[in-house]
């Protein structure tokens, strides 16, 4: 890693050490949802003021106009603090950058800076009840009307729709074309008439996901991003913006050290659980996997710094961490015995094995395990695509 990037990292570390404590850890304990969200907005505004908010976005909208690598470096350092970042995870990383690429200039001026500062939050209305991994099979329809479109249908798994001010949405504009070819991409005001947001209750009571219903919601044609029926390309571009997403090396679950600590105190049939071969094997396996992933990550950043495109590292990482988080947590609960079934009141997935186990969504969201394996098999190993009976068939001729 070159000198400039090393300096950037050191500066970021020093800056975070000085500023992050007021927005993380103790500062968040006992906060209501609204107060935590307010703290999150304040942290985002504070970062923007110091050149660490929206690092890759253009300066004219309040970004720092810096490289993607610097963003990766800052995110790595920022992750060491328990900061309220989740509300902006989608907003700033996907909808905002794509909006700034495609929207008319006046709209960019109007919404860009306020979104960068965290005053506005965006959601991404992609998945539907019948379109998850297979995004292009979505059904929400957009019918032309005077000056724009009327959108009707349903979206689901929409993160933070309940607090979002704006959203990007993909809709079907021509069902007589094959599924990828008849989609169009828009942005819209989440307070538009005809939108209903329903929260989805989750296993661990995380308050992120929603269903969003559209009942003839009017969207002006100037809010279209990309061509009519060219929306799939924009959707894929939205998902690819973060070419190298930084993820926590424990998959946002407890660390290996937390597991060793727990195992050191646990007993099995009157003996220390640490004497058990299966427990020891799990520790070794987790260590080895983490070590391998660290090496892969470091090599990827070096390649990135040399100007190469990121490879499949992200897919390997997400695949392995999702499973390891779930399995390590299950074994930790085993070691706690019958009392392991308790759910601590203020536990969080990063420090509580039961909470981590109760949220296996890392294996599902943003590409399921199976989809990631397909990606690796097809893109890296050059193996054939799955059989796709809907290929080239008009959407309205497909079996429902």
């Amino acid at each position: 890693m070159n000198h400039e990037l090393r300096c950037y990292r050191e500066d970021a570390q020093a800056w975070l050490a000085e500023h992050a404590p007021r927005y993380s850890g103790q500062a968040r304990h006992g906060l209501s949802f609204d107060d935590d969200l307010a703290l999150a907005r304040a942290w985002q505004a504070h970062k923007v003021e110091h050149g660490y908010g929206c690092i890759t976005l253009p300066r004219e909208y309040g970004g720092a106009g810096e490289s993607e690598l610097k963003k990766v470096i800052f995110c790595e350092e920022e992750m060491h603090y328990d900061l309220p970042l989740v509300y902006f995870g989608i907003s700033l990383n996907n909808p905002l950058p794509i909006f700034l690429r495609y929207a008319p200039q006046a709209w960019k001026q109007k919404l860009g800076p306020a979104t960068v500062r965290g005053e506005l939050i965006w959601c991404q209305l992609f998945s539907e009840p019948s379109a998850g991994s297979d995004l292009a099979s979505l059904r929400l329809k957009a019918v032309p009307t005077e000056g724009g479109w009327l959108l009707s249908g349903q979206k689901v798994w929409t993160s933070w729709a309940q607090i979002a001010d704006w959203g990007v949405v993909v809709a079907r504009t021509d069902a007589s074309l094959p599924k990828h070819a008849g989609l169009t991409y828009f942005f819209l005001d989440m307070r538009s008439k005809g939108i209903t947001v329903q929260p989805i209750r989750r296993l661990g009571e995380e308050k992120d996901l929603n269903e969003v219903f559209f009942d003839e919601v009017f969207v002006a044609d100037e809010q279209r991003l990309g061509e009519v029926n060219g929306g799939f390309k924009v959707a894929v571009e939205t998902l690819m913006i973060e070419r190298y997403a930084v993820t926590d090396e424990s998959g946002y679950g407890p660390t290996l050290e937390n597991f060793i600590d727990l195992a050191s105190k646990a007993r099995l049939n009157g003996s220390p659980a640490l004497a058990d071969g299966e427990v020891r094997a799990r520790i070794a396996e987790t260590y080895v996997e983490r070590q391998g992933l660290r090496a892969i990550h470091r090599r990827a950043l070096e390649a990135f710094a040399r100007g190469q495109e990121p490879g499949p590292e992200g897919a390997i990482r997400k695949l392995l961490l999702g499973r390891t988080r779930q399995n390590l947590a299950a074994m930790a609960l085993d070691l706690l015995g019958a009392n392991g079934a308790q759910l601590a009141a203020h536990g969080h997935s990063v420090n509580d094995f039961a909470r981590a186990w109760l949220d296996p969504s890392l294996r599902i969201a943003g590409g399921t395990d199976e989809l990631l394996l397909n990606t690796l098999a097809e893109r890296v190993l050059g193996l054939p695509q799955d059989h796709r009976p809907d290929k080239g068939v008009p959407f309205n001729a497909l079996a429902k």
Partner: protein, 371 residues
């Protein structure tokens, strides 16, 4: 790594790959598997001409001084084609003799460097599934007695690095195998191409090179270099399986289009990348002499053994009926993956070494309770 060093390594890799593709033909490899204790004399002669044994050796004994990364490059290429040469044993025997700082071995060192002599590593005991265990070979007054389990190249090697014990504990010994008191027993095995033999010593002259620390260093370095050989083998298996899965058709499509096959191969790819990452980090730790070099080596050994075993096993499986024929190549890797896993100690053995290094030694864990 310096830039010129990187260029040297790249050209060594290129050379090695070309030579091995020429020499390690299927027919040649199958002949070696046919008889117990086979040693690939022809390939060794070519390797000596190319200077492979000298790659990691220091300049004062005539080596190229390219370090462990030089050895790693050749081991990886060797692993790709299931070649078997005593490069690791030669390099580590020289390293151990030099570390011991004893005089009078200049000729031996030069011969190990040129390849005029070959070495074997005899670290395993017949009575323990690990390596460097309390031991069936005992030394006193410069003489060693006892037995060592099957060791690669021991059927033909001139010298061996032998793990034994004396009254002070662990020891690593240099033993000339041409002494009449050394018995080599060659046994029929599933990987006959590694010139393996069990060794028996009776009042055999042995030169003490060092204690537990040296034993640990040599076994770690052997595991590290072997990890690269395992990586080469893993990669070859994955390539072979993918090629076959793209070609072979069933139910109207290439079998690589079925998730049962493609997901299996993608999982192996993940294990390969993890193993590659661990091996690269461990190599780096040795080059920088970092304090975590032992634990990173354990990780590299575990990851490489896992990856190669699964890749070899599933490559054979993907080949279906062809996989179980003598004629097809998958069984060469199936055999080699297992023999490399056994020679230097199982995954369970290295797991314990790793956990010990992490401060979770099994002996400090109180066992038994009130039973």
């Amino acid at each position: 790594m310096q830039a010129d060093h990187a260029e040297d390594l790249a050209s060594i890799r290129e050379q090695a790959r070309r030579l091995l593709v020429d020499q390690a033909t299927p027919e040649h490899l199958k002949n070696l598997l046919n008889a117990p204790g086979s040693f690939d004399q022809a390939l060794w002669r070519h390797a000596v001409e190319q200077g492979w044994p000298s790659v990691a050796m220091p300049e004062q004994v005539g080596g190229l001084a390219l370090g462990w990364s030089g050895l790693a490059v050749i081991c990886e290429e060797l692993g790709r084609l299931t070649g078997a040469l005593p490069l690791i044993a030669n390099a580590l025997t020289a390293h151990a003799v030099i570390s011991a700082g004893i005089s009078g071995h200049q000729q031996l060192l030069e011969d190990l460097t040129s390849g005029a002599l070959t070495a074997a590593l005899a670290l395993a005991d017949p009575s323990d599934s690990g390596i460097c265990s309390p031991g069936a070979a005992k030394e006193s007054n410069g003489r060693i007695d006892g037995v060592k389990a099957l060791a690669a190249f021991a059927a033909v090697a001139d010298v061996a690095l032998v793990h034994g014990v004396n009254e002070r504990g662990d020891g690593l010994y240099l033993v000339h195998l041409d002494q009449p008191s050394v018995k080599r027993q060659v046994l029929e095995g599933f990987d006959n191409a590694r010139a393996a033999a069990a060794l028996q010593f009776e009042q055999t002259e042995a030169v003490y090179l060092g204690g537990a620390e040296l034993v640990s260093e040599i076994s770690s370095l052997a595991a590290l270099a072997t990890a690269f050989e395992q990586l080469g083998g893993t990669h070859a298996c994955l390539d072979m399986a993918c090629d076959y899965a793209r070609e072979r058709r069933a139910f109207g499509q290439a079998i690589g289009g079925f998730q049962g096959i493609k997901h299996k191969l993608a999982e192996i790819y993940c294990l390969l990348e993890i193993a590659r990452g661990c091996a690269a980090d461990a190599l780096d730790a040795w080059q920088q002499q970092r304090p975590d070099k032992q634990q990173l080596t354990c990780a590299a050994r575990i990851a490489a053994t896992r990856a190669y075993n699964l890749a070899a096993q599933e490559n054979l499986h993907v080949h279906g009926g062809m996989g179980v024929t003598w004629e097809a190549m998958p069984h060469h890797y199936y055999r080699r993956a297992r023999s490399l896993a056994l020679e230097l100690g199982s995954v369970a053995y290295w797991r314990e070494r790793l956990l010990t290094d992490l401060g979770l030694e099994s002996t400090t864990v109180e066992v038994g309770g009130s039973a």
